[in-house]
Amino acid sequence: MNNCGDYEDLIIGDLDHCISFVEKERLDAHLENCEECSKLREDYRIILERVRLDIPADPGKRFWSEYDTSLQAGITRLKAQPPKFRTYAIAASVALIMLLSGVGWNFMNSGREPAPSNSALLLARELDQIYGPVSEETVDKWSDLAPNLSSITKSDELAVHWFEVEDESSGYFL
């Protein structure tokens, strides 16, 4: 065989009907003079033909009947389920409602005065001791103080205690 390896792909391509006219002519010319390549072509032809013919028989009426029934049942089940995109849409709607409710709640409560904390009440009692009990005259002062008192923190509370201790140590009774 002279350069017969070059012709193996051409032989398969010829059997696969995917070589050009020029390639086909070149192959035919070679096969006329090469017994081994003619035999090789015959081998490949037989193999591909046998593979092509080895197709399983139709599985029969009962198979298709069971197949159709079972597939239809599966599709009906899927139809009954909410589609995934609808689930996402519902989840997004719920999240949006919750977000809007939160915004609305904050908006409605934005005008209200916050309730005074314990620290604020403690300081108020101290102020009562200084200025006297809350009266009609001091209501305005109290309302002015209220927003500031509501923001009193733990450190402010400590400051109040220190203030008490300081005054006790100085012997001056408020």
Binding site: E42, D43, R52, P59, F63, W64, D68, L71, I75
Partner: protein
């Protein structure tokens, strides 16, 4: 009605049109899977799974390929996964020795067990070669479609088919021929 129209109808909410797609493709898809798996019960189960997957995924179908190619790709990939699982159960020691170097292809081909040898040979082929051979010979697909399904180039699909044919011959008659 053509596939593109039916798919459009399905995506816009008319789920009933899916039955038309099932009617059109259930037989060819099932037969293709049967040729690959050679087991009717396994085929029945897998083919149904393919259509249920298609039903679930069709709303997101981009239309990059035709519906037919998309459906065949689902089927081929599902069958390939099943064969992979099957192959894991068969160890290399269990793989049958099918080569018979003492005989030529034309002598072998007349033997009763040649068909079985051919099937075993195909089963032992590397995955890409086996798929290219099956899609080309059984389904008579062109290389463009095979390439789309196998997600490779046309040249690669063709090379895999050629290599599969050569490997099959080597397996049948051994290395001596």
């Amino acid at each position: 009605m053509d596939d593109a129209f039916l798919v459009k109808q399905f995506i816009s909410g008319d789920k009933e049109v899916f039955s038309e797609l099932v009617e059109k493709y259930s037989r060819p898809i099932t037969m293709m899977i049967l040729k690959m798996l050679r087991d009717p019960e396994e085929t029945k189960d897998l083919s149904q799974q393919v259509f249920l997957k298609a039903y679930e995924g069709l709303s997101g179908f981009s239309g990059a390929s035709s519906f037919k190619t998309w459906l065949y790709a689902i089927a081929v990939n599902s069958a390939r996964d099943r064969l992979r699982a099957r192959k894991q159960m068969v160890t290399l020691e269990d793989a049958p020795e099918i080569a018979d170097s003492a005989k030529s292809v034309s002598e072998l081909i007349h033997e009763k067990n040649t068909t079985m040898k051919l099937r075993e040979g195909i089963a032992q082929l590397p995955e890409k070669q086996r798929l290219a051979l099956q899609l080309r010979v059984y389904e008579e697909m062109d290389y463009k479609k095979i390439a789309e399904i196998m997600q490779c180039s046309e040249g690669s699909a063709r090379a895999n088919f050629f290599q599969a044919t050569k490997s099959l011959k080597r397996m049948l008659v051994g290395q001596n021929e």
